[in-house]
């Protein structure tokens, strides 16, 4: 019978990991992850418990003033602007015809700052990205859009989650 190394009791101790191929795999994973980071240009932070609606849209590389509508508040670039009661504006905060007082004031201040800093022809500054919970009623979305539109923000982008 042919004796194998197992039967002879001689264990080959010169067993080393193929470090070079492992490094190759790691480089590929690293490049893939770096590429994913670079292409996901839009940075969206949502409050806890918020779920965005889904769509099959592809493009996402836009910048603009981010407005987040959650169950309890409306935030502008992360700053709390208006209180909501179960997705609804409270009555004293609303103006006749739709817009909200604190929102209109906040939009007005930001718009004034933008116009002071940029050329009057710059249109990219009038863009609003609405990041709203899928359960929010249209009346709330309408109030936010009306408050923005009356301060010169006319380009609305609605943030969604891609796919189902």
């Amino acid at each position: 019978m042919k004796k194998t190394s197992f039967h002879t009791g001689h264990i080959n101790e010169d067993m080393s990991l193929q470090i070079t191929s492992m490094a190759d795999i790691f480089i590929i994973i690293l490049v893939f992850l770096l590429k994913s980071h670079a292409t996901g240009t839009m940075n969206v932070t949502t409050p806890a418990g918020m779920s965005l609606p889904s769509s099959h849209i592809q493009d996402a590389s836009v910048e603009g003033l981010k407005i987040t509508i959650s169950k309890t508040s409306v935030q502008m670039e992360g700053d709390h602007i208006a209180e909501l009661d179960n997705f609804l504006f409270t009555k004293p905060a609303l103006q006749p015809g739709g817009p909200s007082n604190p929102l209109a004031k906040a939009f007005g201040q930001v718009r004034k700052r933008q116009l002071a800093n940029t050329k009057p022809t710059a249109t990219g500054e009038s863009r609003i990205i609405i990041i709203a919970d899928k359960r929010a009623p249209f009346s709330t979305i309408k109030t936010v859009m009306a408050s923005a539109a009356m301060n010169g923000y006319t380009d609305f982008k609605l943030a969604t989650v891609r796919g189902d």
């Binding site: 470090i19 996901g40 309408k142 609305f156």
Partner: protein, 152 residues
């Protein structure tokens, strides 16, 4: 005599050196772990929505022959209204498969009015935002310019 000179004169230069791969692998492992933790696996899409302002004249030189308006109502229905050279009003029940019915209606209208590429989406106050987005998502492949109505 220094050791350098000694090595130069007596020991031949060894060109068969190896990189210390273990430390490089360590760095890669840390980097990959960091990137995986900070990576976002949810990708964000953006729906373009214009605002249809009441009473404001259109700046376009050519007036569209027909105007399509889709209105979502609180009573779980949807109205597809066509105005202009053709007048049409169709009501759809907003149940689970209404997107297919909406798509079919829009395709029927598009077959008659090939230059139609604008639609106004409006809704009553209590309609969830998700329904509006799903409606816009259904309409967008056939009618690329979507305006949100009833804002101003």
């Amino acid at each position: 005599m220094s050791s350098y000179h000694a090595a130069k004169s007596h020991v031949p230069l060894n060109q068969d050196f190896e990189l210390n791969m273990a430390s490089i692998i360590d760095c890669f492992t840390v980097l990959i772990a960091f990137m995986l933790i900070s990576a976002s696996f949810v990708s964000i899409g953006i729906l373009d929505a214009g605002v249809e302002a009441a009473g404001v004249e259109s700046t376009t030189t050519t007036t569209p022959q027909v105007h399509l308006m889709v209105t979502l109502r609180d009573n779980n229905t949807m109205t597809i209204a066509l105005s202009g050279k053709e007048r049409l009003s169709q009501q759809i029940q907003r149940n689970s498969g209404y997107y297919d019915e909406l798509k079919q209606s829009v395709l029927n209208i598009k077959s008659r009015w090939k230059d139609l590429n604008t639609v106004t989406v409006s809704a009553e106050g209590g309609v969830p935002y998700n329904d509006i987005i799903r409606t816009m998502d259904t309409l967008r492949p056939h009618l690329p310019y979507i305006a949100v109505g009833g804002i101003l």
